[in-house]
């Protein structure tokens, strides 16, 4: 089933609109005074919104390869929608904290650039474009990690950058190796020309290493807890949510379209290690941001399961797409609660239910959602994921995922229970705009979970 080939710029309308909004926002930010920088933020958000609308209209289009490197298929559509939707929520989340900041415009523009790079990552069907997208998605994020210009931010930005540099290097090495072995960089060529052998395995693992860095999976996960804790909370929200979407889309595309030898085993091992390590390390955390960071690592493990069985079962694609969208929303909701409360210790959440019952409820729904409790969206994603694993003959992976899910209940509850306890001292004040984002994300996870049938039939 070869896709239609064409070079029509209109196919990239969502990306172009988003880019246009970002550039216009940058220009606006240069020329308006600091107290009116919010105009630039609105311009960026308008661009993202326009891109989101265009992406929504593009969903019904045919399966098309455009400019020889950009695939328009369900994976791309979902990536676009999820990334742009999440970015919009992140922009909303960052709007209030960044008001009046010296580099207010830069935050919004860099966020949108990260999103653009992420979409390219998910849509690329050529290794060179993939590398370019990797850099486009990473570099703005490095800058954002150090956005606070404080010691912790600088440290986390540096760690983020250094990890990205090493794994980017691995990735480039892998691309080089595969180019040599497969006589091309486009997925189509590689699918036909790639031989099987240890050299290809080495090349694939090196290539995957870079994407694992973006996804925050073992063994490239080390940056996740440090950046999540050190960077400003809004940036932590961004880097644990948005780049992952593109990374999983890219991994899935590689697995489904190139289907290198021993792909499934490689990814399955990584998935098992990632979910187990993420869950175990989250157990003793008292810092909610680190807890959420390890939680995102374990979620990355679950998300790798459909990637492992990509091309082996028809269930893999809906499982991945559904899970990734559900994860993005739920994770955003949980981080939005953290931003709204503005405290990092679990003990600081004591008495939250008394102070703001709705926010506590949002936290509960998001955390139960991350566990995979019905009727939240992740529940449906998890069911599909387990189904895909069993259908793809990776039953042991499904068992590992199920055991990990049970174990994860422990640390999520460690956070929920104090929120409903009696406050020893005055509970923290709550930021209204961030709380609104939390409510929105929570409501969306419920809508998506309850309307799962509708959401699945769109594929």
């Amino acid at each position: 089933m070869n896709p239609m080939m064409r070079e029509n710029p209109a196919d990239l309308l969502p990306e172009l609109l988003t880019l246009f909004g970002a550039v216009l926002g940058l220009l606006t930010g240069m020329f308006v005074p600091r107290r009116r920088q919010w105009i630039a933020a609105l311009v960026c958000a308008a661009g993202v919104l326009a891109g989101l609308v265009a992406a929504a209209f593009a969903v019904s289009g045919p399966r098309v390869m455009t400019f020889d490197a950009f695939m328009l298929d369900p994976v791309t559509h979902v990536t676009r929608l999820t990334v742009l939707g999440s970015t919009l929520l992140v922009l909303a989340l960052g709007f209030a904290p960044m008001r009046g900041h010296r580099r207010e415009t830069e935050f919004h523009v860099l966020t949108v650039f990260t999103a653009l790079g992420t979409i390219a990552l998910g849509a690329a069907s050529d290794l060179l474009v993939l590398v370019a997208a990797y850099l486009l998605a990473s570099i703005p994020a490095y800058a954002l990690a150090g956005f606070g210009k404080d010691g912790k931010g600088a440290e986390s930005a540096l760690k983020y950058y250094l990890m990205g540099a090493l794994l980017g290097l691995f990735m480039l090495t892998g691309v080089t190796l595969l180019y040599g072995l497969g006589r091309g960089t486009s997925y189509e060529t590689l699918a036909l020309g790639l031989p099987s052998g240890p050299a290809v395995t080495v090349g694939v693992i090196l290539l995957v290493a870079g994407l694992l860095f973006k996804a925050g999976a073992v063994p490239a996960h080390f940056w996740v807890p440090d950046v999540t804790e050190g960077a400003p909370p809004v940036v932590a929200t961004l880097v644990t949510t948005v780049p992952k979407i593109g990374a999983f889309a890219a991994l899935f595309r590689l697995g489904a379209e190139v289907m290198p030898h021993s792909w499934a085993l490689t990814i399955a091992l990584i998935a098992a290690a990632t979910m187990t390590l993420g869950n175990l390390a989250a157990f003793g955390q008292d810092n909610v941001r680190r807890l959420l960071a390890y939680s995102t690592i374990s979620q990355a493990g679950y998300l790798l399961v459909p990637v492992a069985v990509a091309g082996r079962t028809d269930l893999a694609e809906p499982a991945l797409l559904y899970y990734v969208a559900a994860y993005a929303l739920t994770n955003l909701g949980a981080f939005a609660v953290v931003v709204a409360v503005g405290r990092d210790r679990i003990g600081d959440y004591r008495g939250l239910a008394r102070r703001s019952p709705l926010l506590a409820l949002s936290l509960v729904i998001c955390l139960l959602g991350l566990i995979g409790t019905p009727p939240t969206a992740v529940f449906v994603g998890k069911v599909l994921m387990l189904g895909a694993a069993v259908e793809g003959h990776y039953t042991w992976l499904a068992v590992v995922a199920a055991v990990n899910t049970v174990a994860s209940v422990f640390y999520y509850l460690r956070w929920i229970v104090p929120a409903y306890g009696r406050a020893e001292h005055e509970p923290p004040t709550v930021s209204r705009p961030a709380a609104l984002v939390a409510y929105t994300a929570t409501a969306l996870t419920l809508v998506l979970g309850i309307g799962s049938g509708i959401a699945l039939s769109l594929n």
């Binding site: 760690k159 691995f170 395995t201 063994p219 390390a281």
Partner: protein
Amino acid sequence: MSAVAWALPALPLLVGALLLLAGRRADRVAPVLAVLAGVGTLGLAVAAAVGRPDVSFPLFAGLPAGMAVDGLSAVLVVTVASAALAVLVFAAGDMGPDEARARFFGLMLVFAAAMLVTVTAKDLAVLLMAWEVMGAMSYALIGFWWQDGERVDSANVAFLTTRAGDLGLYFAAGCAVAGTHSLSLDALAGAASPWRDLVAAGIVVAALGKSAQLPFSFWLSRAMAGPSPVSALLHSATMVAAGAYLLLRVHPLLEAAGWAGTLVAWAGALTALVMGAVAVAQRDLKQLLAASTCAQIGFMVLAAGVGSVAGGTAQLVAHAAVKCLLFLGAGAFLTALGTKDLAELHGAARRFRLVGVTFGVGALALAGLPPLSLWVTKDVVLASAPVPLQAVGLAGGVLAAAYSVRMIVAVWHPRDALTRDDTEQPGTRHVGLAEKLPMPVLAAVGAGFGVVALPGVLGPWQRLLGASGEDGPTALELALSGGLAVLVAGVVASRRVNLPAFAAARNWFYLGQAADRLVARPVLALAGALARFDDRVLDGAVRAVAAGGRAAATLASRRVEFPVDGLVDGLGRSVRRLAVLARRPQTGQVHTYYAQAAVLLLVLTLVVVLVG
């Protein structure tokens, strides 16, 4: 007209219920209300007797129920209402202001209402309800002075005995539904063969129990524990009369069953004889009257057994008036003089002339002396009976003459030095107007009701009861029984012959003790044994199960729980240890990150290359 059928029992029932609910607050107005209700009920009864209402209503699906007044019921409702009114008027004077009068009159009215429903019921279901209410009211009235334990015991005996008989009625109702697919009293005789006999057996047992016939007679002796007006009503037109009425009502069934008629006739005749002997031997006036009630009811039962409805009904009405009168007289003596011992009542009739005269008339009627009522009605009954039963009946009549004249002699004998008052309770030495008022009326009815047997009256009386064609007594029979009664009365009155007083007869032939030994004690012993079985075996098994469960739980908690608990704890500990290990790689130093990432990727590559 159907409104009368409802109103007839409803009026006394509602007034009675009202008085019972009001309790002691209504004590002052209770006698007036009760007498007014009694007058109203009598009016309604007469209206019902004339109008013959008939109502049906759904009670159980497919089993229509109803109340109707036919000839027999017409006679009965008027009798019941009249006796009730007489007793209520007497009680209005007899029950002192200290008594719980609201409770007393309430119970009496409900008692009368239940009897009215009993005699108008068209089917076994309605009859049973009224029958049960009547039994319950009799219990409450006999035990009216509940502070006295002995009286409550008597109430228990009376209640349990009649209840035991009542089970027969339930049995009969079940068999009737099975045999005729209805509960209608008229349909009983048409039941298929085995069911007909079973229904007859059930009804006979219930009726004999209620009417205190052999072998159930002893409860009537204990029923004397209640106030005198209760005895007057219970012995005349309600309760004991209900059994006789039921047998008269279902006499077609008894005839159809064959054996049942014979059994009933002999039970009645033997009761008349045996209880006559008991009455002769009594020293207590009320006990004498109780035994005589059994004996006289025996003639009614005999009538039902031989199919003499006209005679039985006439006997019932005449006896109701006479016995009501006698009990009221005995009650008046008891209240005024404080005694009911025949030996202590000497001169009583002379001290209270009106009571003495009417009491004497009643006793003479009871004696069966010509030309008074029971002489005639008894002979009407015996006219339908075969010779052996006639002989037994005549013997019963002779005994009736003997005990009746004993009473007359006792109360009219001049007071002597040995006579003591107040042997049982302090007397008032006074008989009020209300107490006297019903007596002449009852005496007139009791003396004169024999007119129904006159040649010109017997025919209409039989037609009224739908019993045309029954034989009337011949002149020879009348002369024979009258002559015998006069002879015996004369002998007893002359006091030439000392009446034999057997201890067995005085003690009701030990029927109560026999019932106690043969029924009550074995049942109690069986109940005790079953209770022990329940306590030791069933309960023991339950306790053993519980103990076993506890033992098993203890065992499980020692042998299983600790290892399982330990396993869970151990799992938790090892996961915790692993969790600490999992955080170890997160050193915070980039060079260790680099090294770990490189090594892990290398290991991964090796594994995949080697395995894949």
